[in-house]
């Protein structure tokens, strides 16, 4: 409807300005800093150096951390997907309860993730609610180690990011044209076959969107690892946070941020290529 391209841009300008200030400028700054020289105690000397990248590549530790983070985040995302799809399907078919159920999915967002993780600590720790309950009903005699294991990070990420997966899948199931399902039934497909050959492919855009907006934040978490694994698991988010705030090595922090961005973009790209080779429209 907008005939004038200038009008279109002027209406977009607040968001363009936002992107420029809070996306483009920081990325440029991080890129520049990653190639500067460290003064040693945190200062930045503006002389070209690739020292930070050499550190990142020469010690296999950093690449290993990035790889581990991708594996942990991917596992959490797959579990989210397996939990979220039936859940979203159920909500989409819940009739008048729909709005209430979606509201319930969103309510936890109103509390900060940090606060919700502290609640998990109260539930999970050796002297916590779950262990006390299991001991009182006599199911176990010694407290179970539920926290302070690397696997606790999966729980934290699945808990924290599940709504990100549910909401896009829900909206794609909701928009699904029921006449396709009826057509499949008329043509003799049983419900299982209909689900896998009609419903899943048609809701793939929602799955993809959910997958990406869950995986990308999950790969860079650091509060979850700090709180639930007792800092025993190190993800790349922790390494970058420590480089900036504790070690005052902004060059290394920036270089690792850049590497992480490249690897995440690459893995998202590979993932989309892989899942949407048949139908280009899913790329949107």
């Amino acid at each position: 409807m907008i005939k004038n391209i200038r009008l279109a841009y002027s209406m977009l300008s607040p968001s363009l300005l936002w992107l420029l200030l809070f996306l483009v400028v920081p990325i440029v700054m991080v890129t520049v800093i990653s190639f500067t020289t460290s003064e040693g105690y945190g200062g930045i000397i503006y002389e070209f150096s690739t020292h930070a990248y050499e550190t990142a590549f020469l010690s296999s530790m950093y690449l290993k951390v990035i790889w581990n983070s991708i594996v942990w985040a991917f596992s959490a995302t797959v579990i989210c997907l397996l939990l979220a799809y039936p859940f979203a399907y159920f909500i989409a078919h819940a009739g008048k309860w729909k709005n209430l159920l979606i509201l319930l999915v969103m309510i936890p967002f109103w509390t900060n993730l940090l606060v919700r993780l502290y609640a998990w600590i109260i539930l999970l720790n050796g002297e916590g609610v779950i262990n006390h309950f299991l001991q009182n009903i006599g199911l176990i005699s010694e407290p179970l180690t539920l926290m302070y294991t690397p696997y606790a990070v999966i729980l934290g990420m699945v808990y924290g990011f599940l709504p990100f997966m549910i909401l896009p899948i829900y909206s794609s199931i909701e928009q699904l044209d029921k006449t396709y399902l009826e057509a499949a039934e008329d043509l003799g497909a049983n419900p299982v076959k209909t689900f896998f050959t009609v419903t899943i492919p048609l809701t793939l855009p929602g799955i993809l969107a959910g997958f990406i907006i869950t995986f990308v934040p999950a790969v860079s978490v650091f509060v979850v690892t700090d709180l639930l694994t007792g800092s025993k698991l190190v993800m790349v988010g922790n390494v970058i946070r420590d480089a900036f705030l504790i070690e005052m090595n902004w060059q290394l922090g920036s270089a690792l941020s850049i590497l992480l961005m490249i690897l995440v973009l690459l893995s998202v790209f590979i993932f989309m290529k892989f899942t949407s080779s048949k139908d280009k429209k899913f790329l949107i």
Partner: protein, 378 residues
Amino acid sequence: MKNLLKLMLAVVFFLALVACSSDDAGTTDDTSGSEDTSSEDTGGSEDAGSSEGDTEQELASELNLFNWGEYMPQEVLDNFEEEYGVEVVYSTYSSNQEMLTKLGSGTVNYDIVVPTDYIVGRMIDDDMLLELNMDNIPNFENIQDVFHQRDFDPGNVFSIPYLYGSTGIAYNTSHIDGTPSYADLWNAEYAGHVTVQDDPRESLAMVLQKLDLPMNEPTEEDLEQAKAELAKLHPNVLAYDSSPSAQLISGEAWISHTYSGEAGVAMQENPDISYTLPEEGGELWMDNLVIPNTSENKYTAEVFINYLLEPEVSKQLSDAFPYSNPNQGALDLMTEEERSNPASYPPAEQIANASWFEDLPPETIQLMNRLYKEVKVE
């Protein structure tokens, strides 16, 4: 449905905005409130100024204090303002690095900062500090003699001790017999009940002490050896945590490598917890009052430092935050029970056996950071 989602997003966004802005409003209110009181009190301040110094040395109306968070009771600042009519603006930082970065940026103007011992040395080397005029700080004599001569600032030319503390072992007496040493952290019987400071410098210093290697000038081989030893400790560790008081109180942690202050908090809540400096030594640190060379209110800053060294005032500091007080006058005001708390006041022979942190060259610090991470990743 879509409208509902949009509405909810809008609500979330709105709440976030409200949360941010109310924060800001809170701070502004605070400052404006204290400004009001300061203007009322200026009459009194002139008297105090003229009686204590010559004409050039008049008290400023405002003093900018840059100190660690949760380290200065508001009561102390309010009383100073009442007595001298000087408004003290208290800003906080959470690490020495943060303080150095902000000072170095040149955009701030603080009259007093409170760096840790070895950072004082670095600031002296970098010409960042003003020499103190001890004539304005007669209460310095209240500081215990042991803290008068310190390696980083011989003769206390630039710095005055504020509070100090140690890093040692907090332990649960119902699980651990006798007085533990650092070597006991490796005891397989305590597997899953050990916590270690989540800080490369602190945790590696502990391992170096256990191995009887120099904690303040380790060679690369020393550090590699310490890394291997820390890797052996890893299976025993419940958590790497620099504030393990909650785990100590709940009974999950039996033996913790931690700050004396953390142990003090746990001891208040759980009578089974005790604290000791280990036979290997343990580490000591002390925060110090210094005046950065950007300050324009040196005289006022010195008057404030002198005020903090008054026994009653100094006792207020360590009452509010349970670290160790180097002020003999304040110690004399404490009860016997307070003075015999092993977390705040370890026996003198343990203090003598412990080591102070010294500054390390950046290469060593970076190596320690990397080795510490490698232990966790591998």
